[in-house]
Symmetry: C2
Subunit: 495 residues, 2 copies
């Protein structure tokens, strides 16, 4: 095909897409599409042929089908809060971005069944609010909840702060509606808790980052509203104590334990420096801080007594050195602000390499201590902030430039990553716990996955998207897809 | 290939298999293989070329690889307690049964990580016992637990009595080791609670009934031991009251609610008639009985108070008409014997058609009442026993021959099934909640699944087992597999 033919075909596709979603919902000028041309972190930038904003599943299906016939890739777009570049289009101005933002309704709330069926573009916080209005609790919760969309949460199998008790997004999904590569629709929104009628197809799409299908709606599990919440901020002298405290809390408060979040001293220091409303409630500095939350839907349970007994026992055992128990919702929020502020402060403080890893819980102290020590020797001016979800074995091991020269820091990215990943993998861990792969970790996936696993992933991709049109190049490198010859170099990395 | 060539090839394969697993673990005479030639219920019978009993994953892999090269189908075999014929070999004496029975060890117990890694042939009750020895709880529990194997539980995504609180088998699996169709091994037994590094491949194999791979080992989640258990047997006048009680229990005792099992009067009557140790603790008959269990790992929680408050409120509201609370473990066991006896009695009482269905919880009363009424009109001599896991929406809707002529009953199988399935599907339910598909429900799967779903299942099967060698014909009809032209008629149905 000549260049002019290609151009004419692209114009024809834009016209067809506009007729599907309405001219006002099909953007194609550079200025209109600019904000869709890179991932949310700005790590990868491409160029977009068009952005369509369908209002219904039928419109998504028709748009995907039109792109398939025209041979154009489709990039699904949610709240764009992913951290691995999963929403970045290619740079050849061929990709059609399908933004789910207009599909943001609750389709059905079934109180007796404890399920809610929502469209993919619904903001996570609005899903939480719809559950709360019905006196129910939807537990998925993460820093981006004010702007991330539930479809993106599903596509990335989002984790967050409540995994300890309620599981990852995968465990919260009872049914999906998905537009497939050819524009056909797979739908099962029955919200059944037991259904062994054939392969469980929804599992394919959860966590596949839009490469096997585009989630358009989901039926989610709801839980009873929480009637009691007890939150404590505890100080500890070592990571061994942190893990010992976690194990004790799990054994003695398992039904109620709903958060166990670790922040190291450096994280609190950075948070109080950079984020105005973060306050350190302790007079003295401490090496580690744990936010521990117990919650219950039962009003009869003496939750505070259970918490106090747990704290007392661990104070006596010398695992906890100090602590404060929230006396009000405001107190609890101020404890959470430390945990959130730790993340925000790093964003403000300058460049950093984020490693979202997991290890078996028993391996957490050894992993953090030895990796930090090695890095501090090699990069004495850098700042290591290792924090996160202890109960999930999920540590955000971030290396911040600190006082390091920015160019020196940029050169070391690969070496730092290798060092962290090696430490994780040698302990039977994962180099990507909750953030996924996108573009950013494709190479790591290839390097750190056994051939049988990579072969299975490619077999799935080929089975579901043989022409490689759905979010091509994300998770897996694409086999030569027609009209698209792109590899890593096709995305200009900004950082 | 001539018949004599085929025979020589088969002999060669048997010799090769014997060299892999040892002659004593490779059975090929009719008498030795007879017990492997049909499914556990005796619904389907075939003929077996050989039965191999590997001791290691490497031996499984080598056996599967040898079969693949020789073009012979492989049928994985666990405890053979499945109810849908998933273990029945074909009838042409070509299938090689791979029995996991010798792979029955605990590979690793990681207390700090709350995980246990076991081989596929381990009996479920032994997995439970290994957890209990470590002061932990493995919640999967079902009637066949004394003989079913954990590999089979995983292959069928077994449900059972604790799904309400702990989820199906799928939710209990953190990692799998699987032998693939070509004899290669996919393994991820890290036991991580968060791992988004590429597609979650283990999900493919859970519930796929040995058609996509053979599970050889698994890493499972453990929970804190239960320190308190409160069990009550309650009587109710209507199914509306049963569901109302469930909703109240869920709202007010969610963290503790670990069983909510329904037995109708006819189930209790049959149990006391046919099963010696089943006792009706009530002086008068009641339409419905609910076994309600609360449990906690916390000793400080006033679990009995929570139970008594729940019962009092529901007695006052007129939902419960009577009830007994277990005062001892023996009492609790006698309540569970009613629920188990209901199943055993049906087996003893004569032929029955079992429908393992699920509907949204709110639809349970309407589904049971109207379907029972219709069937009672059409078959006044039959006996309807509808019981099961109310909290999962999972009803075992069984139609027993009762006083009906056996031949008349046999003729009506299809009509009865259609009637029950239509009632389920019109209410947004599933025709197979926890028992799977096997051979028995293949036609139903085809009939009651949208084309996009069936197409996806075939795409998966083709991607993972292109020559259709793994448990061929189960779940999905096989496309013409080399050397194997079989359809439904290839299995002689005994009932």
């Amino acid at each position: 095909m000549s260049a002019s033919q290609r151009l004419a075909n692209a114009d024809g596709l834009i016209t067809e897409l506009a007729s599907i979603v309405g001219a006002g919902n099909c953007l194609s000028s550079q200025s209109e599409t600019a904000s869709y041309a890179s991932d949310g972190r700005g790590l990868f930038a491409g160029s977009v042929l068009a952005v369509v904003k369908p209002a219904t599943t039928e419109e998504v299906a028709a748009a995907v089908s039109a792109c398939a016939r025209a041979g154009h890739p489709v990039v699904p777009h949610g709240g764009n809060t992913g951290l691995c570049g999963g929403t970045a289009p290619g740079r050849h101005r061929r990709d059609v971005v399908v933004s789910l933002e207009r599909m943001n309704r609750v389709r059905k709330l079934d109180i007796a069944n404890d399920t809610i069926t929502v469209e993919a573009g619904m903001i996570l916080r609005n899903v939480q609010a719809a559950a709360a209005e019905a006196d129910r609790y939807f537990p998925l919760s993460l820093n981006a909840e004010g702007s991330c969309q539930i479809g993106g949460n599903i596509a990335t199998n989002a984790g967050g702060n409540a995994v300890l008790r309620y599981g990852n997004t995968r465990e919260l999904v009872l049914g999906l509606e998905v537009v497939l590569a050819d524009g056909s629709v797979f739908s099962d929104l029955r919200g059944l808790r037991k259904n062994n009628s054939g392969y469980d197809l929804k599992q394919l799409f959860i966590g596949s980052e839009g490469t096997l299908g585009i989630v358009t709606a989901a039926t989610l599990r709801l839980f009873p509203a929480r009637r009691q919440i007890e939150t404590a901020l505890l100080t500890l002298a070592s990571l061994d104590d942190v893990v010992a405290l976690y194990l004790d809390a799990r054994q003695h408060a398992q039904e109620f334990l709903s958060a166990f979040e670790l922040t190291p001293r450096i994280g609190l220091t950075m948070a109080t420096q950079h984020v105005p409303d973060v306050v350190d409630p302790f007079a003295e500095p401490h090496p580690y801080y744990v936010l521990l939350e117990l919650s219950s839907s039962q009003t009869r349970v003496g939750l505070k007594d259970i918490l106090l007994e747990l704290l007392e026992r661990n104070l006596d055992a010398g695992r906890i050195t100090d602590g404060v128990v929230a006396g009000s919702l405001r107190d609890a929020q101020s404890f959470w602000r430390i945990r959130e502020g730790c993340v925000e402060a790093q964003r403000i403080a300058g460049p950093s390499y984020k490693h979202d890893v997991s290890v078996p819980i028993s391996a957490i102290p050894g992993f953090i201590n030895s990796t930090r020590a090695t890095l501090e020797l090699a990069y004495p001016s850098a700042t290591i902030v290792a924090f996160g979800h202890v109960g999930d074995g999920n540590i955000h091991f971030n290396v911040c430039a600190g006082d390091m020269d920015r160019e020196d820091f940029a050169v070391e990215q690969h070496a730092i990553e290798e060092l962290v990943f090696d430490a994780v993998l040698s302990r039977g861990g994962s180099f990507s716990a909750e953030h996924g792969i996108g573009l950013l970790k494709r190479d790591a996936l290839l390097r750190h996955t056994a051939p049988a696993g990579i072969a299975l992933m490619h077999a799935l991709k080929t089975a579901l998207d043989p022409a490689c049109r759905l979010n091509p190049g994300k998770v897996l490198r694409s086999p030569a897809a027609p009209n698209r010859k792109q590899d890593h170099a096709s995305w200009s990395e900004r950082t």
